[in-house]
Each structure stands twice: as C-alpha cells, then as structure tokens.
C-alpha cells in the first residue's frame, strides 16, 4: 500500500528534502550528535596516540566478554526496532507493539549491564581520575600486568577519564532513547499509531540505530583495540 500523505513531504510546498519534517529534523539533529561524539572520541584517539602507555592493554582492565554480549544485545534491539517499523508499515499493529516492547526491554537491559560494569570497575579501582592507589588494579599495575607502559599508574589518568566520559555519555544517550522508546511503546499499546501515520516510530528508530552505531564504534576502539 502506498505511503499515506502525512509520511511524505509536506504538500503545497516547494520540493524540499523529500521526507516529512520530523524525519528530516531527526537526521539533522543526529548530525549534531555525530559532532558531539566526534569531540569525545577524537580526543580519546589523540590522547591515546600521544601517550599509548597510559592506556591498558585490551581486556586487562575492561571486561570484554560481558561487554561483547552487551553489544550483541544492543544490536538485537536494533533488529527488533527495524521489525517494529516494518510491522507498522505493513499494518501488522500487534507485531509492531511487541517488537517495540522488546526493543525497550533490551535497551534497558543494555543500560543495566553498563551500570553493573561500572560498579565492578569502580570497585576494582578504575576511576575517571585513573587507578585508585591501593586498589586491586593498582596492585596489578605495579606488577606490570595491566599492559600499561608507564611506571606510575597515576599517569594513567587519561585512560579512566576518556573511558568513563565516552561510554558514560553513550549510556546517557541510550537512557534517553529508552525513555523515548517507553513513551512510544505506551502510545503504540494505546493505539496511537496507524499504518498511515507511524512517524514517531520511524523517528525514534533513527535515533536508536544511531546510538547503536556509536556503540559499535566505541566497543571496537575502546575494548578491542
């Protein structure tokens, strides 16, 4: 079935982007988000190239297996998001509702795992300011087991600084996404979306995929490399 009028460009206007306002607006906004994460990730790359010894070897400080599972979860939530939008497009509103619910729950789970990882890392002694003196990680650092190239773990401050800032702000963006996703899911269950007009689902979906993409980049350069 053809797209309903409201999910195309505004009528009686000079030809613009060819997409409805909310969708264009979200793409534009995501442009600003790209620049925001560029500032954080770019700084991380610069600091790491300048002082590679201040950054622990992959897997020595951070828990790669758990985070890998978490990454898989987030990717799954993007899949359910796509399926929700497709269901709306095809008029299968029941399916759409449950896929939206799944996306919300998986997204919340991702945040939960992140919070768990943070508490564990802090307990081990990995702080935004670096490695806490006297902590378990400090002992490992002194024994040369963290893959740090610097003698004084105090100089590893930038590792903690950049890790928590980048992943923390990503987590904040996911949390905002989960909140928006909850609103969308509730609206869906109340019958607020139709096959003719499900703009909110597409727009929040765009944001969701963006947040997922940022995570894939972060996971790769922070955890794997």
């Amino acid at each position: 079935m053809a797209h309903a009028a409201v999910m195309t460009t505004p009528a009686n206007r000079e030809l613009g982007a060819g997409v409805y306002n909310e969708k264009l607006g979200m793409w534009v906004f995501l442009g600003s988000e790209v620049m925001f994460f560029t500032a954080l990730i770019g700084s991380y790359i610069i600091l790491r190239f300048a002082n590679p010894g201040a950054f622990g070897a992959p897997g020595q400080v951070l828990n790669v297996p758990v985070t890998a599972v978490n990454t898989f979860l987030l990717i799954c939530s993007s899949v359910t998001m796509v399926k929700a939008f497709a269901a709306a497009h095809d008029g299968e509103m029941q399916k759409m509702k449950y896929y939206l619910l799944a996306t919300t729950i998986i997204g919340a789970a991702f945040v939960g795992v992140q919070v768990y990882e943070y508490t564990h890392l802090i307990h081990e002694g990995f702080l935004p300011s670096g490695i806490r003196p006297g902590s378990h990680l400090a002992e490992l650092a002194e024994a040369g087991q963290l893959g740090l190239g610097v003698a004084d773990p105090g100089v590893a401050g930038v590792y903690g600084s950049s890790f928590y800032t980048m992943t923390g702000f990503h987590g904040f963006h996911v949390t905002c996404g989960v909140i928006c996703m909850s609103f969308v899911t509730i609206k869906a269950f109340r019958g607020g979306y139709t096959q003719a007009d499900h703009r909110g689902i597409e727009v929040v979906g765009l944001y969701w995929h963006f947040v997922d993409l940022v995570w894939i980049i972060l996971f790769t350069i922070v955890y794997l490399i």
Binding site: N12, V28, S43, G157
Partner: protein, 589 residues
C-alpha cells in the same frame, strides 16, 4: 500587537488564537515571531551588561587608581572603594567576551532574525517545530540566569578568558576560581542545547517549508546566510559541548583530559575550543552579512550585484571556516608545519569576503541611494567590516602573528568585525524589521543621531587599539604601567576609554528609541520600505500563521527598478498581471 494576533490567523485555525491565555500567547509562545522578539529583549539586556563590563575594564585602563563612578556599590571582593581588583578584572575580561559572544550577538543574529525572518521570508506559517522553538528560548533563559549567578559565588566568576584555556581553567588552585568556572561551563552547555535545537528547526524549515516557487536561488541572502549559519551551529556547538564536558570533569571529578600531570594535554583544549570557536565567529558574521545584503539592495533600489556569487561566497566562507582554527594557535607550541597549512587556509578566506565587499559596493553603484537609518548602518557595516577583515591579514601571516598575537592588535580586529561588523548590522536589521515586529516605526531622527555618534565613538575607541597593539601592548592585563615600554601608551588608553564611555552612552539613544517607539512610534503600513520580501506582503505585525493563503513566488528576491513594472520594487509573490499571487493549488492538510 495584541489586536493583530487576535484576528483570524492564516490557514483557518480560528480557534487557537482566541482561546490562548496571555501566558500561552506571549510567555510560552510557540509563534516564531513572538519567540524572535523574546530573544531580542533578552539579548539587548545582555548586550547592556556585557557593555557595562567593558566600561569597568576601560575605566581601569584609562583612569588607573581612580574609583569607578558608582563603584562603591560593588562588593569588596570585586572593587573595594570602587577600584577594580586584579582578580575581578580577569573576570570582567572573561565575562565581557562570554556575554557578548554567547548571550548578545549570537542570539541577536541567530535567535532573533533566524526566528523572525525565516518563516516569513520563505512563505511559511511558522517553523517546522514550533514547540521545539519555544524550548529553544526557554532553555536559553535559565542558561543566562545561571551565567549571571556566577558573579555571586565564592571565588568569583570565571576568570580564564572567554577562551578558557586549560589548565588555568581546569584547576581552581591556579586561578582562585572554582564554582564560577563550573557555572560558566554548565551555562554554556545549556545555551548550546538551545542553539542546537534552534538550528535543527531552522534547517528543517528552510529545506521543507518553502512556498511554491521559492526555489533555492530565489531565497533572499538573509535566509541563505541564516541557513548556512544554522548548519555551522549544528556542527560546531556540539564540539564545544563535548569540550566543556571534559573540562567540567577535569574540574570536578578528577579526570585529566587537559592536565599534563595526569597524561592529558593542554593543547587538546585549544584544538577543541577553536575547532568550535572559529566556525562560531562565522556564525556571528554570516547572518550579519545576509541582512546587510537585503538592506543594501533595498536602500540602493537595485538588485544585489552578483547574487549567485554572494551565495557561493557564503558557502565558501562557512566551509573554509572549518579548516582555519589553528590560526589561533600559531604560537601555542603546536607543530610549526601546521602553522604553514593554517596560514594558507586563513589567507584564502579573505577571498570570498573580498568578493562580498565588492559586490555590496557594486550594488550601490548606479543605484538610487536612499539613506534611511537601516541603510546608514548597513553601509557602515561594509566600511567597518573591511577594516576588520584587512587587519586580519596581518595576523594570518604567521611571522607577523609572532609579534601581534595576544596584543591589542587582535582586540582591534575582533571589535572591528564584531562591533563594526555584526553590531552595526544588528542595528540595521532591528531598525529595518522593527515595523514588521511591532507595527510602528522607530524614530528616524534619533536613529540618525544614534548612528553618527556610534560611528564616531566606535572609531575613536577601537582604531587606536591597532597602534597600541603594534607597540606590543598585551591583552588581558590589569595594569599596563607595570611595563616601561607600555607607560607611554597611557594617554592612548585614556583616549580609548573616553571613546568607549561615549560609545556606551550613545547606545541609550537606541534603547530609548526602541522602547518609546513601541508605544508612540508612527504606525507602520505593511511595506514601509517598499521592499520585495514576502514578509512585507502581510500586515505589520503579521497575524498568527502569517499568510492567509500560501503565497506563490514568481520572482528573484531583489527585483528593484525592474523594467517590468512602474514601481521601483517588485514583491516576490506579485503576479505580473497586477493581482497578488495566490496559491495555485488548494491548501492541503
């Protein structure tokens, strides 16, 4: 204003305008015109505060050791006996720059004219996202209040310059400022969010809501400039947000992004800040160039000379503005080879600016010049901005910059482009669109008095700064007399201060004219300037929804003195059999 808004608004939404309470209509308004006026009122207040900060700076430099008039009212932590303390001086310098850039000039150009002009001039009923627009303003207000709160915290306000270089700004022990510096960052983060939401709105609106016939190359240059500026805002402000967050964390939770002792890099702050900061100054000048183009064409009764080149020049300036940031860092310790590359890109950016300057002159050439107050300010923009641009060539040359970096030569350049440029353009634009905003005209006599006093006092204040800079007078120093080589410059400093005092005082003429005309100014017709823009085809002020029917656009934006019609202007929507164009297709949705 109230009566026009209560009339049937466009597109037949009869119910809304009548039922809205005063609060929904004027306080938490979603109407782009009201929001534009809200930004105008807020920004003028901050322009005054920022100017007042400058007066205290200049008093210290012009009359060192003498009490500032009324200074006894200030607390002992700032100015005991009315004499500014060195720590407060550093805060004044910081806050003058901060308030002027973020809370005066940027909102005056982008918040006021972006909001007010875009829907009207493209033939749209409002912005794409009116409620988001309301949020843009109402996030900016607490940002401004928070910024002012910084004056009242222990340790005083931020004092590391508007550029906030780390580690001075990151570590409180170095500056004596703790909370103030944090407030500065939080306030700017909030303001940044407001700007990003606004930019999203402007871009979506210009792309998707242009009236039929308003193709890209029929857009007035003010709209082109605001559109390109919005893209700059979208891409540059988030960089500042990211950097501000990192600096805030350095200050509060012990991260080490910019702190060498923890593995961080002070130069990283400079790269991030200027990667934002240089596009920011183009954000501050491009809309000014845009409105000046509209006004010069109107005042010359001629099409803009080289419209297409003007568009490409706007785009070129915006694009080149991304690859010149390092010219603020020539002497920073960054790799000298980078100095070479940034010098080339910086010198190149002179070219599109030159094109625009000559095109403005070309517009005036063989025109029928009408020196209404907006035209006076617009012509002044061109002549003052040129001085600012030319002074920029000195600092673009890296070896010359060795000498003039961080001297008053730079301060002269900044003020010729930001005051001589942006602020004169703002005066032109406010005067020009005032009748459309308020339904009355500003008094032209007092407008001319304000203009000539400002022009003279501005030059008395800022031209000598080139010369003291050439003598090596550094920036941001509380007492130049500490240095023997600067002592002979005291006389010039005093002259500059006198100019500044007259300059500040003259602005009250503008404020009074602005306020009084609101109540007793001559009533304005729909098109008091005989202009071609779509905004002049609707009443002054326009009703909610702007246009009764969607306009059809037939002409380029600057068809003055067209041979096709007897009048010397041709509104963009005028169908040439004499009837005003109406929508060819019934309004959908």
């Amino acid at each position: 204003m109230a009566t026009a808004a209560l009339a049937h608004d466009a597109a037949g939404h009869h119910g809304d305008a009548h039922e809205l309470s005063f609060i929904r209509k004027y306080i938490f308004s979603t109407d782009h015109k009201i929001i534009g006026i809200q930004f105008l009122l807020m920004s003028l207040i901050f322009l005054g505060i920022g100017g007042f900060a400058a007066m205290m700076i200049r008093w210290q430099l012009g009359f060192p050791g003498e009490a500032f008039p009324g200074g006894a009212l200030l607390p002992e932590t700032m100015a005991p006996g009315g004499i500014v303390l060195p720590e407060f001086y550093n805060s004044l310098v910081t806050m003058h720059g901060t308030l002027m850039v973020f809370f005066a000039v940027m909102p005056l150009l982008v918040g006021v004219f972006g909001n007010f002009l875009i829907p009207l001039k493209i033939g749209a009923p409002d912005m794409a996202f009116p409620r988001l627009n309301m949020w843009s303003f109402w996030i900016a207000v607490p940002a401004g209040i928070l910024m002012m709160a910084g004056f009242f915290v222990e340790g005083g306000h931020a004092a590391a310059g508007w550029t906030s270089y780390a580690p001075l700004s990151a570590i409180g022990e170095y500056s004596g400022v703790y909370t103030g510096q944090q407030i500065w960052l939080l306030s700017l983060a909030m303001l940044g969010l407001s700007s990003i939401l606004g930019a999203t709105n402007y871009i979506t609106t210009v792309v998707n809501l242009r009236a039929p016939g308003m193709g890209w190359f029929r857009l007035p240059l003010s709209i082109w400039a605001l559109f390109v500026t919005a893209i700059l805002v979208l891409l540059a402000i988030p960089i500042l947000s990211g950097a501000a967050i990192m600096l805030f964390f350095d200050q509060t939770i012990g991260t080490h992004f910019f702190d060498a002792t923890g593995g961080g890099q002070p130069l990283l702050w400079q790269h991030l800040f200027w990667y934002f900061g240089h596009p920011e100054v183009y954000i501050l000048i491009l809309p000014a160039m845009g409105v000046v183009s509209d006004i010069i064409a109107n005042g010359s009764r001629k099409p803009i000379f080289g419209y297409h080149s003007m568009v490409y020049a706007i785009i070129a300036i915006a694009f080149l503005g991304w690859i010149v940031w390092g010219h603020h860092m020539f002497q920073s310790g960054m790799n000298p080879s980078l100095g070479m590359t940034f010098m080339i890109s910086t010198l190149l950016i002179a070219v599109p600016s030159a094109i625009k300057t000559f095109n403005w002159m070309g517009t005036m050439w063989r025109g029928q010049l009408n020196f209404h107050v907006p035209m006076l300010h617009a012509i002044t923009f061109v002549s003052m901005f040129v001085i600012g641009g030319l002074s920029g060539v000195f600092m673009a040359s890296t070896p010359v910059d060795i000498y003039i970096h961080d001297t008053y030569f730079i301060v002269a350049h900044i003020h010729y482009v930001l005051f001589g440029g942006s602020l004169f353009a703002i005066y032109a634009a406010v005067t020009f669109w005032y009748p459309k905003m308020f339904g009355r005209l500003m008094d032209p006599f007092w407008g001319k008095v304000h203009w000539i006093l400002t022009l003279i006092a501005f030059n008395v204040t800022f031209f000598p700064m080139h010369t003291i800079g050439a003598q090596g007078h550094m920036r941001r120093i509380y007492d130049p007399n500490q240095y023997e080589f600067l002592q002979p410059l005291q006389g010039t400093n005093t002259l500059i201060t006198i100019g500044a005092l007259v300059l500040f005082g003259s602005q009250f003429i503008f404020i009074l004219n602005f306020v009084i005309s609101w109540f007793t100014g001559a009533k304005a017709s729909a098109n008091p300037w005989d202009d071609n823009g779509l905004e002049w085809t609707v009443p002054s002020p326009p009703p909610h929804g702007n246009f009764a029917t969607v306009p059809n656009v037939y002409h380029a934006p600057y068809e003055f003195s067209s041979p096709l019609v007897e009048e010397d202007f041709l509104p963009q929507n005028r169908k040439l059999d004499g009837t005003v164009g109406s929508a060819d297709t019934p309004a959908a949705g």
